[in-house]
Structures are given as structure tokens and as C-alpha cells.
């Protein structure tokens, strides 16, 4: 059973009150967050007030909504009314939104218990959580290692059991990569499945909010509740996505699981071995493994960095110190104020991507970079469509390696960009993909694999993921931190 159902049973069964339960988590945050650095804001009052409401509801004998009373967290780029939302950037320090992101509205209406906002790479740009102005979140499996990024705080909190679930955002792997590094489950939904309204934009055509949890069932429950059409997001999908939780345990006999040969190239041996071992497990479960070629994959990384940076350069133009957030202290005139505010407010990685993006959109370079990248995006989309003619899901590594040691990622940005190779194609194609743990390396650090699906076919990838979880529970390992149920 997943944690969400288990907790709700505990609450409704009278084993523990929601307030007591929430306090346990708040206590654990106080002690464990010192080392994990997962939370950047703790919302104790908000959490206890909600928990109180849940207890009253239970006392009245009312039935709980699917996420009611469950302690959770939000990445710090999801807008929460009255609660600081900084994207872990100095430039948004002190910024408290005056409106709620749609996903937070949904969760709040269900009385999900918000424990706080979690750490991330600044504006979701990074793969180690270390570009955060608060310093990185650490890996609960071994705090000498990073949690991954950009949703490192959510992954660290969930793997460290100081949150039951969390919502992250994934632009090029930012949910799946930290889930993989921390040995838990992370779903990047189909583009348009979850409303982006209120998610502080990094690259609008790639960003997608999704759950990070410890079990596949929990991911399914959270996804089913947040994948709702939202008229405030024009790219939100206006059709019913059938609940994924009902089909988790469906037999996968005869399912065709594809492995693209290119996906195994350049992947570290221990990772490759784990993926192949997982493929063997699937064979035992009656699935068919189909190897195929996906040559378009080689375009994915440059396409991603051109498009994401181009959009970011535009999305981040609004941080000028005029309306909200950080503003420089000494300046002469408006222009100088804006220049100084941005120079002081943004970190190096964000500046690097703004510069890159500005360059590729500039007159004279647009055709050579941006336009070409857009065309190649079409090629990549088509390549996946073709692949899905023959397979039901694609199995791939999430990251070519395991978690980096602290400080390694920030030393060479280009080297770090290369580690996104397995995750970015999925954002480019707008597909759903779930990362689940599939083993450990010799240092005991988790290895993750992705199960990639057709658009809006979250049900199948979660079904396939769930089946693996049932036969390989040893890969879903607890850490020493946090609240144990």
C-alpha cells in the first residue's frame, strides 16, 4: 500500500490525529532539515491550521478527500498566496504572491497539509540544486551527495521522510533526475496534463508540474488529483484523462517495452546493467522487450538548451526590481536600477542561460539557432511518434550516472548539461515519463530508470512502473531520516 492511503487510514482509524501527525513532521523538519536543507520556508501555522480542520472533519465522521490530511511540500517556484515564493533566487527574496497556483488551489481545497516550500536550483536551472541562493538540498542516502535538481528539495524531503509527497516541476528532467538520485518516484506528466498557472516560468513550452513520492501508487493518486483542465492555462488539455490509480495492477503480459539503443550509449556501466536487469524482470512479467533505433535523440540536448534558454531569457525579463522582489539599494535612474538589480539578483547559472537565450534569438542568429532548433523539435516529436507505433512504453535510464558529489556539478556547466541527455528529449516531445528506482551502485547510491509513454497515457506508464515496484521492492529503500510510519 502507498503512504497516502496508509496515512488516511491511520487518521480515520483514530490511530493519530492529523495535528499530532503534522507536528511529528514539523519536529522532524526542525532536526533533519539542518543537514538535508530541503526546506527553504516552513509553514508551520498553515500546516497546523489545516490539520486542525482535518481533525474536525474526521470528528464529524466525514469522508476524507484523496489528499486530505497528508503532509506535503511544494517546490519554491509554485505560487502560494501569502507564502514566500522565491524560486531560490535572491531576485525574488521577500516575494509573497497575491494569488495561488492552480495546483495549490486544488491541494488546499482538499486540505492537503503544506509543511513548507522546498529548495531548488535557482529558477529551476541546474541539475544539483546547488544553484539555489540557499545552498543545495542534500541526498538523504548520503549527505555528501547532492539531491539532484532542480527539484532537489522536494526529492530530499520525500526521500528523507520529512514530507509524504511533493510537487516539483520538470523542464528538462527536474522531477525525474532528483527522484532518480534520491531513489524515489517522480512523474513528469504529459505537457498540458497539469495546469502551469502559478508555476514561475523557466521555459514555458517545456515546463510541467508533477508529483514526487515514495511509491508509484502515491504518484498515481497525486497525479489523478492535479491533472485537471484549467481555463487559466491555454495549454492545459481540455479532455478527461482517465484515472491512473485504477489500472496500476493491470496485467502487463504482452506489453511491448521498447529500449532505444542510443539511450544506452554513453551511460555508465552500473546504470546500464540496472536497466538491462529491469528489462529481464519485465520479461519475467510477460512483457516483450523490443530494441529499436532513435537517431533523433542526438539532437535533443542542443535543441533543449537553445529553446529553454531562449524562452527563459524572455520569461526572466520581468525581474526588474520595480514591482516585487529584490531591488538594488544604490542607483542612478531607472536604467541603472534595473541593471544593478538584475546583476546583483541573479546567480551565475541564470545569467548564463539568459545570455545564451538572448543570443540565439538575436537578429541574424534566430534562423541559425532558434528556428533550426524548432524544426529539430518537430523531428524529435515525430521520431517518438514513430517509435510508439511499435511499442507501448519506452524504458530508459533517467540519468547516465548516479548522484554527484557535492560541488562537482557546479565546477563544469557544460559537463553538467550533458547529464540531462536522457531526460530532455521527453520534455521536447511533451511526453509523460516516470522515474522509479531500479538499483544501487557500489556506493549505495540509487539508480533510476524512466518509463516513457505516449501522450496522455500516464495510466500505462504507471501500470508498468507499479508492476516493477511489486517485484523489486528492495530498490525502494528507506533512509535514516524523518518520520517512520
Amino acid at each position: 500500500m502507498g503512504y497516502i492511503k496508509k496515512i488516511q487510514n491511520m487518521l480515520t482509524g483514530g490511530e493519530i490525529t492529523c495535528v499530532e501527525f503534522t507536528k511529528k513532521y514539523l519536529e522532524a523538519i526542525k532536526t533533519d532539515n539542518k543537514e538535508l536543507n530541503a526546506y527553504v520556508t516552513v509553514t508551520e501555522e498553515e500546516a497546523l491550521a489545516t490539520a486542525q480542520k482535518v481533525d474536525e472533519k474526521i470528528a464529524r465522521g466525514e469522508e476524507l478527500l484523496p489528499l486530505e490530511g497528508v503532509p506535503m511540500t511544494l517546490k519554491d517556484n509554485i505560487s502560494t498566496k501569502g507564502i514566500e515564493t522565491t524560486c531560490c533566487s535572491k531576485i525574488l527574496s521577500g516575494y509573497k504572491p497575491i494569488y495561488n497556483a492552480t495546483v495549490w488551489d486544488i491541494l488546499k481545497n482538499q486540505n492537503a497539509v503544506l509543511l513548507g516550500k522546498t529548495n531548488m536550483d535557482e529558477f529551476a536551472m541546474g541539475s544539483s540544486c546547488e544553484t539555489s541562493c540557499f545552498g543545495g538540498a542534500m541526498n538523504p542516502h548520503n549527505t555528501c551527495y547532492v539531491s539532484g535538481g532542480s527539484s532537489g528539495g522536494v526529492a530530499s524531503a520525500v526521500a528523507g521522510d520529512i514530507a509524504v509527497f511533493g510537487l516539483g516541476s520538470d523542464t528538462g528532467g527536474s522531477i525525474r533526475q532528483p527522484a532518480s538520485f534520491c531513489g524515489i518516484v517522480g512523474l513528469k506528466p504529459t505537457y498540458g496534463a497539469v495546469s502551469r498557472y502559478g508555476l514561475v516560468a523557466y521555459a514555458s513550452s517545456l515546463d510541467q508540474i508533477g508529483p514526487i513520492t515514495k511509491t508509484v501508487e502515491d504518484t498515481a493518486i497525486v497525479f489523478d488529483n492535479i491533472s485537471v483542465y484549467d481555463k487559466k492555462d491555454s495549454t492545459s488539455c481540455n479532455k478527461n484523462i482517465s484515472p491512473t490509480v485504477d489500472t496500476l495492477n493491470k496485467d502487463i503480459k504482452g506489453k511491448k517495452i521498447g529500449i532505444a539503443r542510443e539511450y544506452l550509449d554513453g551511460v555508465r556501466d552500473d546504470v546500464k546493467e540496472s536497466i538491462l536487469a529491469a528489462a529481464e524482470k519485465y520479461k519475467e512479467l510477460g512483457a516483450e522487450i523490443v530494441y529499436f533505433d532513435l537517431p533523433a535523440l542526438k539532437f535533443a540536448l542542443p535543441v533543449y538548451y537553445i529553446l529553454a534558454c531562449a524562452e527563459a531569457s524572455s520569461n526572466l525579463g520581468r525581474y526588474d526590481g520595480i514591482r516585487y522582489g529584490y531591488k538594488t539599494e544604490h542607483y542612478e535612474g531607472t536604467h541603472d536600477m534595473i541593471c544593478r538589480t538584475r546583476s546583483e539578483g541573479f546567480g551565475d547559472e541564470v545569467k548564463r542561460r539568459i545570455l545564451l537565450g538572448t543570443y540565439v534569438l538575436s537578429a541574424g542568429y534566430y534562423d541559425a539557432y532558434y528556428k533550426k532548433a524548432q524544426n529539430l523539435r518537430g523531428t524529435i516529436i515525430k521520431a517518438f511518434e514513430d517509435a510508439f507505433e511499435n511499442v507501448d512504453v519506452i524504458l530508459a535510464p533517467t540519468v547516465p550516472m548516479t548522484a554527484f558529489e557535492k560541488g562537482k556539478a557546479t565546477s563544469d556547466p557544460v559537463e553538467t548539461y550533458l547529464t540531462d541527455i536522457c531526460t530532455v528529449p521527453i520534455n521536447i516531445a511533451g511526453l509523460p515519463s516516470v522515474s522509479i528506482p531500479c538499483g544501487f551502485n557500489s556506493n549505495g547510491m540509487p539508480i533510476g530508470m524512466q518509463i516513457i509513454g505516449k501522450k496522455f497515457d500516464e495510466a500505462t506508464i504507471l501500470n508498468v512502473a507499479y508492476k516493477y515496484e511489486q517485484v523489486c521492492p528492495e530498490n525502494f529503500k528507506d533512509t535514516k531520516w524523518g518520520v517512520k510510519l
Binding site: N77, I78, S79, T85, C87, L92, Y95, P97, I98, Y99, A101, R196, Y197, G198, L199, V200, A201, A203, S204, S205, K231, K232, D233, S234, T235, A310, E311, S313, S314, G317, R318, D320, I322, R323, Y324, T334, I338, T358, L361, S362, A363, Y366, Y370
Partner: protein, 470 residues
């Protein structure tokens, strides 16, 4: 050497939708600073635009009314530039796939000013300078605009004036904007260059930005034309630059040179989906368009036999022409109505705004009733004129002022008696008439009309007097 002016216009028109282009805030002009704002139009992090359908509909109407081809697929792009009144640091506009392509505006001299395209976009806010401090008001931010971009087809200041007036007229007719230049709901940028008459090659152009009155436009163009000609004549060269016009000094001055021109880094806005409009939808909008002023004017001239100058006055504003269309219902001579409107009704409407509003107490039905009496020969013109004056003041129907007796007409004997009296009382005029001065007879006419209180039929009286004299 003689020089020719070459100009093209970029005209911004605020659309009269109730709500903004990407959120549901009010578009009302004025209001406390930042009182018509929400997270979306002040560009708070994480907010997303949702396109107002009405804006697309209005844009399509503008395209159809200017003979453009409506694109079945069009897209929104981001125009990136940094300025405090632009809350997102980009304006959502259209560059790569605008809503309407081509089209033209026809001038009275028969020339067609071709349009390059029409696109939809959002307006920016406003800076307010006060005691050395600068404030931003985002009320106008997100108000929908169309930008109408012409080809460089304008060849004179008069054409420029007429082009702007025609656009204003058409947009008001189709009801998508009030086009009030003084309130900024219509603003023009003019691209202007000169070349020797007869030359095909375009000269280097300058762009005068953001003018909000037709007078300023013509003055600025006159100034800029002279400046460019003088420059060339004295051996200099025109530099491509953006200018601002100062109406106090009636001069233009440089805002920025070509080198400093913004690189807007346009790209498709990923937050908005493709706008697709089917041919059926386009036709549906077309069918709802009112008759346009140009067509109306031609119809008045060709079918209703209204003199061209009058027809153009009647069609200047939609309210006038609609009033006229109703008032002529069932009449044989629509010109009677036209004359009443242009002479008597216009006299009561002092300003252009009054004419545009055309708030007249007399309903078109009431005017129609009066004109029918004239056509039936029951009321004579002079009487009708004085009756209409009273009607216009009170708003009452003509029957209030015309008695049965008035309508009964005069018997022939009385007419003959009045004519004889007229001849007897105007010997001098009769003398002159006999000497060949045709017009002198009008004095006798006047006498009869006056003494019959306008009831006599002018044609009959004239014939009678003539026969009596000879």
C-alpha cells in the same frame, strides 16, 4: 528639382472590448492608477495569458472592412524589450503570422493605399512623472490593440490625412473602436521619405513615432518633408532614425538612430495556442458587418441620386447614415431627407462629436412622416422647414404643428388673387422681368408664398405669375 513625398503608416487602434486582451480586467479609460489590474496584466511570476475571443473577432472585422485576407491560422509572438511600463518585459503581439494579410484603403482620388497586414497585440501601461519621481500605472497594460501597417503608398499630406480619416471612419462604423486620438485610442507612427518626382527608388526613411492628432500628423509630415528635401538639396543625406514630433516647436527630433534600434528578439509565445479561424467563421463575421461607408456613399450617389458632396457628409458617421436610411423609407425622393439633415439638422449639431453622436430629438420615423406629406403635396417645402425646426426643438411629431387647414391646400381663386396682388405690389420687379431679367420674378413669388403662409405650391405659383404678366 521637384520632390515627391512617400509615406507609410503604422496605426494603433485600441479595441472597444469590455475586458483586456489576456485577462478579465476592465478596459475603461481613466480610473485610479492601477485599479484595473490583476496578477495577469501586471505580469506576476507564474501568471498566464488567455486570449479574449472578442479581440480576435474585432481584428477579423477590421481585416474584412479593409479588404484583407483573414488568416485561417495565426499566432501570437513575444516582442521583447525592457521598459518599466511593460510588466512582463515583452509585449504579446503578432509578427510571423498576423491575423489579416493585405487589403487596402481607397481614397477619394481613386488611389488604393495597400495594407501590409493587421495584427492584434496588447497595449503597455503608462509612466507618470510627479515631483521628480516616476510612477507606473498599468491600467492600460493589456488593453487590446490592432496595428494596421500600410505599404509606403501615400504620396501627399492630403492623402495622409484622408487615409487616417478613412481608417477612423471605417473602424467606428464597424464599431470596434471609438478611435479617439486625443484619448490615445488611435495613434500613428509615420514612415516618411522623399525622392525626386519620377524616381522609382525609395529614399532613406525616418519614422515619426506616436502622434495623436491629425493636425500634428500633417504638421509633422510637412516639417519632415521640408527637412529631408533641404538636407538632400544641400548635399546631405537622410539618416534612418526614429523621430519624435514636438507640437510646441513644430519640429521633429531624434529618439534613436538605426544603430540603437531595438532588437526585439521576436519568437512565438509558448503560453498561447494557435488561433484558428475557419472560413465559415470568417463568413459569419462578414455577414454581420454593417454596410461600410464607401459602399454606402456610392449607393447614395448611384441609387438615391444624392449629390456626391452630400453623400459623403451623410456617410461620415454611422449614426447619420443609419438615421438617413430609416428616414427615407418608402420615399420617392430621398434627397428631401438628405437636404433636411444637412441643412437644418446639422445646424443644431455644433461640434463633430455632436454630429458623430447624432442625438436628434426628432426620430427618423417622424422626419419620414413629414417628408411623406411633402411628397403627397399636402405640405409645401417652406412650411415643412419651419415645422421641422419646431420638431427638432420639441421632439414632437409634425402633426402637432400642421393643421387640417394647412394640409387642405389653397383654392385656385385665392392663388390667382394673391398672384395678381403680387404683380400689383412689385411693379419694379415686373418691369425688370419683362426686360429679360428672369430672376426678378422671385420677388413676386416671395410675396405669394409669404401671404399664403407657405402653403402655395411654388411651381404652380410661378406658372401663374408668368402667365399673368405675359
Amino acid at each position: 528639382m521637384k520632390y515627391e513625398l512617400v509615406a507609410g503608416f503604422e496605426t494603433h487602434i485600441e479595441l472597444g472590448t469590455n475586458t483586456k486582451i489576456f485577462c478579465s480586467c476592465s478596459t475603461e479609460f481613466g480610473g485610479e492608477p492601477n485599479s484595473h489590474c490583476c496578477p495577469v496584466c501586471i505580469g506576476l511570476p507564474g501568471t498566464l495569458p488567455v486570449l479574449n475571443k472578442k479581440v480576435v473577432e474585432y481584428g477579423v472585422m477590421a481585416g474584412l472592412a479593409t479588404n484583407g485576407k483573414i488568416a485561417n491560422i495565426s499566432k501570437m509572438d513575444r516582442k521583447n524589450y525592457c521598459y518599466p511600463d511593460l510588466s512582463k518585459a515583452y509585449q504579446i503581439s503578432q509578427l510571423y503570422a498576423p491575423l489579416s494579410i493585405g487589403g487596402y484603403v481607397q481614397l477619394s482620388n481613386g488611389r488604393k493605399i495597400r495594407l501590409h497586414h493587421i495584427h492584434i497585440e496588447e497595449d503597455a501601461g503608462k509612466l507618470i512623472h510627479n515631483h521628480g519621481d516616476t510612477y507606473v500605472d498599468y491600467n492600460r497594460g493589456g488593453v487590446p490593440l490592432i496595428e494596421i501597417v500600410s505599404e509606403p503608398d501615400i504620396r501627399s499630406i492630403d492623402e495622409a490625412r484622408e487615409y487616417v480619416e478613412k481608417l477612423q471612419q471605417v473602424m467606428r462604423y464597424i464599431g470596434i473602436s471609438d478611435c479617439r486620438m486625443q484619448e490615445g485610442s488611435m495613434r500613428c507612427d509615420v514612415n516618411i521619405s522623399v525622392r525626386p518626382v519620377g524616381s522609382e527608388k525609395l529614399g532613406t526613411r525616418t519614422e515619426i513615432k506616436n502622434m495623436n492628432s491629425i493636425t500634428f500628423i500633417t504638421k509633422a509630415m510637412e516639417y519632415e518633408f521640408e527637412r529631408q528635401v533641404d538636407l538632400i538639396e544641400s548635399g546631405g543625406q537622410v539618416v534612418q532614425e526614429t523621430l519624435r514630433y514636438d507640437d510646441a516647436t513644430n519640429t521633429t527630433s531624434s529618439m534613436r538612430s538605426k544603430e540603437d534600434a531595438h532588437d526585439y528578439r521576436y519568437f512565438r509565445d509558448p503560453d498561447l495556442v494557435t488561433i484558428s479561424i475557419t472560413d465559415e467563421e470568417i463568413e459569419e463575421i462578414r455577414s454581420k458587418l454593417p454596410e461600410l461607408p464607401q459602399q454606402k456613399c456610392e449607393r447614395y450617389i448611384d441609387e438615391l441620386e444624392i449629390p456626391p458632396a452630400d453623400a459623403s457628409q451623410l456617410t461620415k458617421y454611422r449614426n447619420i447614415s443609419e438615421y438617413f436610411d430609416k428616414a427615407i423609407d418608402g420615399l420617392k425622393k430621398p434627397k428631401t431627407v438628405s437636404n433636411f439633415i444637412i441643412s437644418q439638422i446639422f445646424r443644431t449639431l455644433r461640434t463633430e462629436e455632436d454630429k458623430e453622436a447624432f442625438a436628434v430629438k426628432t426620430t427618423p420615423e417622424q422626419l419620414n412622416e413629414l417628408c411623406k406629406l411633402i411628397e403627397d403635396g399636402k405640405v409645401q417645402n417652406n412650411l415643412a422647414k419651419s415645422v421641422l425646426d419646431k420638431m427638432l426643438e420639441s421632439g414632437k411629431p409634425c402633426t402637432e404643428y400642421i393643421t387640417e387647414e394647412d394640409m387642405a391646400g389653397l383654392d385656385d381663386d385665392l392663388v390667382e388673387k394673391l398672384c395678381k396682388d403680387a404683380i400689383a405690389n412689385n411693379p419694379k420687379a415686373v418691369e425688370q422681368y419683362k426686360a429679360g431679367k428672369e430672376k426678378a420674378i422671385m420677388a413676386c413669388m416671395g410675396y405669394v408664398m409669404k401671404n399664403s403662409k407657405g402653403k402655395a405650391n411654388a411651381q404652380d405659383v410661378l406658372a401663374k405669375i408668368k402667365s399673368l404678366i405675359s
